[in-house]
């Protein structure tokens, strides 16, 4: 998921981008250093409490390694010039995105159905913009 590459755009629409991962603070720090994310909110949840509360799921073998999923993931990695590091935490835990408005309503969500499933950045940005606009007009 490469939403962090558009963090300035999220700032511009008035939304706060926060990344949550399964590792340790050291993993988060390395992630920040590797992608140049100084100032970005990067949190760790090694117990995956937030993953469960967000409604994400654990993948089956098929949802991790089916040929079409692997092919899509490799294509994304090549396009984004990603080099996958070692997996931390639960090896089959999938991720996702929630947009939460002030007050706690989840106004948009996209939770991964397989290992290659990520929402386009533009869709997430539009959801964040709408949430920010709704707040301004409230």
């Amino acid at each position: 998921m490469q939403l962090h590459r558009d963090r300035e755009k999220f700032d511009a629409v008035g939304a706060r981008l926060a990344v949550i991962g399964q590792g340790t603070p050291r993993h988060a720090e390395h992630f920040i250093d590797e992608y140049g994310l100084d100032g970005m909110t990067v949190l760790v949840d090694p117990e995956r409490r937030t993953y469960k509360a967000a409604g994400t799921k654990i993948a089956t073998v098929d949802e991790l390694f089916a040929p079409q999923i692997v092919a899509k993931a490799l294509k994304i990695a090549a396009t984004e010039r990603l080099v996958q590091g070692r997996t931390q935490g639960h090896p089959a835990q999938l991720g996702g995105v929630l947009v939460v408005a002030p007050g706690g309503a989840v106004t948009w969500s996209d939770l991964a159905e397989d290992a290659s499933d990520n929402p386009p950045n533009d869709e997430v940005l539009e959801a964040a913009r709408k949430a920010a606009d709704n707040r301004r007009s409230a």
Binding site: A53, K57, F65
Partner: protein
């Protein structure tokens, strides 16, 4: 290197679900609001503070990198 890749794949398979699960996005983030996580410095952050004054986009990663 090949052994490491095989072990990595086996580790992933070992943790995989036996049957397909459904995602369950919540309508509200109330269960998330009072969760306190650490950031990269080890400082604590209450999740509800992230959307107190502005919308928050929470990105749940499979893993870092």
């Amino acid at each position: 290197m090949y052994d490491r890749l095989v072990l990595e794949r086996l580790n992933r398979i070992r943790g995989a679900a036996f049957s397909r699960q459904s995602t369950r996005p919540p309508a509200r983030a109330d269960d998330l609001a009072d969760v306190v996580l650490q950031d990269h410095r080890g400082d604590e952050v209450r999740l509800g503070d992230l959307w107190r004054d502005q919308p928050a986009v929470l990105v749940f990663l499979r893993h870092y990198g």
